[in-house]
């Protein structure tokens, strides 16, 4: 499944760092809210 506008966002469950803790983040836990999902090439890159 590939992401497309107008289609359901693919769900995922991934390890995460969040406000000082290690946790997991699952997209579907945010159902009912607007979500901004941002990918980037890597930590410590310059842009």
């Amino acid at each position: 499944m590939t992401a497309r506008v107008g289609q359901k966002a693919p769900d995922f469950n991934a390890p995460a760092y969040y406000r000082g803790s290690f946790t997991n983040v699952k997209l579907s836990d945010f159902a009912g809210k607007w979500v901004l999902l941002c990918f980037y090439p890597g930590d410590f890159t310059f842009v």
Binding site: T2, Y17, W34, L37, C38, F39, P41, G42
Partner: protein, 150 residues
């Protein structure tokens, strides 16, 4: 990502939650937040920094670059129904404009609030006129909108 973190408050005012994703481990996320980002944004990164070491999330969103093993700079606006309303994917050397993301969220929220009865012309920002699609508007957009209003 510090640019997004710096605008987190204005994103929160719009009721939008942020998740960032890269191939780095959550341990490295912590080091980057503590060692660098927290020096750019007071209090550090306030949202989830997800780790996608196998590229599975990036692959599902078309952001995974298998030759370099990294994610392209993808940005997705997802509505409360879990539907993607907007996407933008840049190659690594150019950064995003967070204010444009805020503008798009405001426009999509307005569309949703009006039940799709209003459409947002190019460059729309809160306070600017919207379009009311219907038979009367066909061939008459020029009467209510022109490019100088963008």
């Amino acid at each position: 990502m510090s640019a997004v973190a710096a605008q987190y408050k204005s994103l929160q005012k719009l009721g939008i939650e942020v998740i960032s994703v890269s191939v780095d481990s959550h341990f490295v996320h912590k080091m980057w937040n503590d060692g660098e980002l927290s020096k750019m944004v007071e209090g550090g990164v306030p949202f989830h920094m997800a780790s996608d070491q196998a590229g599975n999330v990036g692959r599902a969103y078309g952001c995974w670059d298998e030759t370099q093993g990294i994610e392209m700079r993808g940005r997705f606006i997802i509505d409360p129904d879990g539907v993607i309303q907007a996407m933008e994917v840049l190659t690594p050397p150019v950064g995003r404009k967070v204010a444009e993301t805020v503008r798009q969220v405001q426009a999509f929220q307005h569309v949703r609030d009006t039940g799709g009865k209003e459409a947002m012309p190019a460059g729309w920002e809160p306070g600017k006129p919207t379009l009311k699609p219907g038979p009367d508007l066909v061939g008459n957009v020029w009467k209510v909108w022109n490019p100088s209003m963008e």
